[in-house]
Structures are given as C-alpha cells and as structure tokens.
C-alpha cells in the first residue's frame, strides 16, 4: 500500500490506480484516457473482505461486486446493496469490478455511489499524510470528482449496519438489464410509528454526481408521496444525454420515487 501511494505521488496525474478495471480499461481501449503508468493494486493484501465492525459494514476496496452480491453479511446488514448489486453490469463485470473502484470512479450513472450516499456511509482513504475518513455527503464533488486527492487511495467503505427499523428501496430504469440506467434511485429511512424519518434519497443518472433531492426527502418524511414527486421538479435538473432528455429523466425520477416508496412502506416479508 505504501508503494502504491509513493508511486502515485511520484507520477502525479500521469498515474492511475487499476482495481477491477471494468471502467478504466474500457476508457483505455476507447482512447478516452491515456495514463503513462497504471498502478495495479489487485495483489495488495488487506484491501478485500467484508466485516461487521462497531455497527458498520466495512467493505474492503478490492471486494468484487460478485463477492458482495453473495455475502450473507451484506444481505443481512446492508440490504440496499443486496438489492442494487445485481443491477450492476453483467455477471462477468461483477466478477471483476470492485466496490472501491466503483465508488472512487464516481460515475454519476453508477449504482454504488448512490447507495453509499443514501445510506450515509463513509469512505476510508489512505494518502501521504496518513488515513482519513470522509462522509458520503462530502465525498462526491463533481463529475468524476471526489474527495480523493492526488496521492490518495480509497481503501474501504463503511456503511451503517441496518437496524430493524431501517427501510430501504432501490430502483432503476435501463433499456437492457445491466446497461447504465436512464435514471435510478437508492433510498433509506427509519420507520417510526408508521412514518418514515431520516429519509435519504440518492438519484443516479440524473446529474453530475449522485443527487439528494432535499425537498422530496422532506415531503416523504411527512408521508406525502404526491408532494415528494412534485418536489422533484425543483430538486432535480437532469441534463440531456445520449439515452434520454432531461425531461424524460425527470419524469422517470418520479416513477422511481413511487416504486421505491412502496418498497419502503410495504410490510416486510
């Protein structure tokens, strides 16, 4: 790990960390990125594994999607992830892609950054000045921009372990299973006396980062799904992209909110 950090500092912007490579190598193949040096972290010990520690599910950066998908710990303590991961790419992608890579790359249309934000998780980062932890709300800064600075390596993510009161929901709309979503939504909340509180919604595919629609969150905490859907109009401003216009994405965001809300308020099986 020290070597990786040292190499990163030595080579600056010319270096890229290679984890699962499921986004990075595609950008190399397409000549969208041309780093002078790749630092392959795949064989660094201690960057994998899933553990329950002090009320958090801690997932090592190199944990493959497929491992998290089949993990009993994740199913039990991070049910939002268990819902989301099968929607990520395809089996061969999930066999190789890593949890840390997805968060670090911060594709605005990716599922895991939104899950991290919806759960109010944290990111562990190792850098030249030592280790630090960044909250999800402070982590995503702009398009593919995060709190990871030059010379930093994401080492793990921490998600608050689910409680019996915790409710979560997940939905995305894509043209083909495994494609990047036209729009998607990850959500978590606490159920108290039949109402939802601490509602955290995180949309993906509708902005430059995963986006929390604060007015819709407040409306949902009041139990008013219609007001929440209406509030999205002011909360979200999705740009047009190759898949859909912003207007369509905004409409889909409302459709997703109703679906996800239903998952959250339905009695648990």
């Amino acid at each position: 790990m020290d070597d990786a950090v040292r190499l990163l500092q030595e080579h600056g912007d010319g270096a890229k960390i290679l984890a699962g490579g499921q986004s990075l190598i595609a950008t190399l193949n397409m000549r969208l990125s041309a780093p002078q040096i790749l630092i392959d972290i795949n064989k660094i010990e201690g960057l994998g594994g899933i553990a329950l520690k002090d009320g958090f599910i801690v997932i090592g950066a190199l944990t493959r999607h497929a491992e998290a998908e089949r993990s009993n710990l994740v199913a039990k303590h991070a049910p939002l992830l268990a819902k989301a991961i099968p929607q990520i790419g395809h089996p061969a992608i999930r066999n190789r892609g890593t949890i840390g890579g997805s968060i670090a790359f911060a594709d605005p249309a990716a599922e895991l950054p939104a899950c991290l934000l919806a759960l109010g998780g944290e990111v562990e980062i190792a850098g030249a000045t030592g280790k630090r932890t960044v909250k999800a709300d402070d982590f995503f800064r702009g398009l593919y921009e995060t709190a990871i600075g030059p010379g930093d390596v994401l080492t793990a993510i921490r998600l608050p372990a689910a409680t019996p009161q915790m409710r979560c929901g997940f939905g995305e709309l894509a043209r083909r299973h495994g494609d990047y979503a036209l729009a998607g939504l990850a959500a978590s909340a606490r159920s108290e006396g039949g109402k939802l509180c601490d509602v955290r919604l995180a949309y993906f595919g509708v902005g430059l980062t995963p986006v929390r629609p604060r007015k819709a969150e407040a409306a949902l905490a009041n139990g008013d799904i219609d007001a929440a859907v209406a509030a999205l109009d002011g909360d979200l401003d999705p740009p047009d992209d190759i898949q859909a216009t912003g207007k369509v994405k905004k409409h889909l965001a409302g459709v997703l909110l109703r679906r996800v809300f239903k998952q959250m308020v339905e009695p648990r099986a």
Partner: protein
C-alpha cells in the same frame, strides 16, 4: 512508450511464460500471441461479451483485463472447455436448436451459460435471460439460446437425481 511485463500463467492447462506489452488486453494476448481465436473481440468496452473467458474459475471480459494482470492466473478459453468436454452437452444443445445466427457471440454465450448452470441447478427462463444479458449482440437468436440452456439445466439436474 512500450513497456513489457513477464507473465507466467496457465492457459487451458498449459503453462505459458511470455513477455507481453503492458498495455495488451488479455483477449488480444490470447488471440494474437497464443493463436486462440475462439475468444472474439467485439465492442472492446465490456458490453458485448464476445471476449468472455474464465480467469481463476470465473468468467471475465477478456477486453477489460490486461494480459500483464494474469501473472499466476489460470485462464480457460472456449478451446479449453471444448477439449475437456466440460460443455459438450451445452454445445450439442446449441447445435440441435440452431441457437445461433452468425455465431460471433457463441463462445461467450457458452462460457457465461456454463457459469450460471454451475451455480444454479435449474434457473428460470428469466434468470437465464438476465444472466446472458451481458452477451447480447445484435441478432434475434436468443429464444433458442434460452431453450438450449434450459434444456441442459434440466438434463443435468435429471442426471444428478
């Protein structure tokens, strides 16, 4: 800038030691350096699945992994799993149902389907569709592929009983 890495790996059970360009993808290495052209190069960004191979027992995109990363790995291609007979029944089922049009996706389809069958003894048709969704190309021949995978799943389950 051409950088090179030395790799030692096994490909279809055979030990290989080669010096590879650091930038070379696994599928290019298999095809160009080892002559194993059963793995195809389609989209080169992980969408089409034509380059599917197995590394250390799981299917991966041959275009999204570098050959240099395969040092110490066990790589299996469609040539290898054909020779061992591991998927002979699946191949026969594909042939019997004409479960291909141009055949470009077929090696990847077979390896992907085999991984599903190894994990889930009799998957539903929906589960089969979802599993092979990463190998869709551009024909419309998938119905027969789902039929073939389902038939093999049932046949294998029957044999186990």
């Amino acid at each position: 800038m051409n950088e090179y890495c030395d790799v030692n790996l096994t490909v279809n059970g055979e030990r290989i030691s080669e010096r590879v360009e650091a930038r070379k993808t696994l599928v290019d290495f298999l095809r160009d350096d080892l002559g194993l052209t059963g793995s195809h190069v389609g989209c080169e960004h992980g969408v089409c699945g034509a380059c599917t191979v197995r590394v250390d027992g799981v299917v991966v995109r041959g275009c999204l992994m570098l050959a240099a990363q395969c040092d110490g790995a066990k790589v299996e291609t469609i040539e290898g799993v054909s020779d061992t007979g591991e998927i002979a029944d699946l191949q026969q089922a594909f042939e019997a149902r004409n479960a291909l049009q141009c055949g470009f996706c077929t090696p990847g389809m077979l390896l992907t389907a085999q991984e599903l069958l190894a994990r889930d003894s009799v998957p539903s048709r929906d589960a089969i569709r979802e599993h092979i969704s990463g190998n869709y190309c551009r024909c419309t021949g998938y119905h027969a592929i789902v039929d073939a995978v389902e038939a093999v799943a049932k046949a294998r389950a029957g044999e186990r009983e």
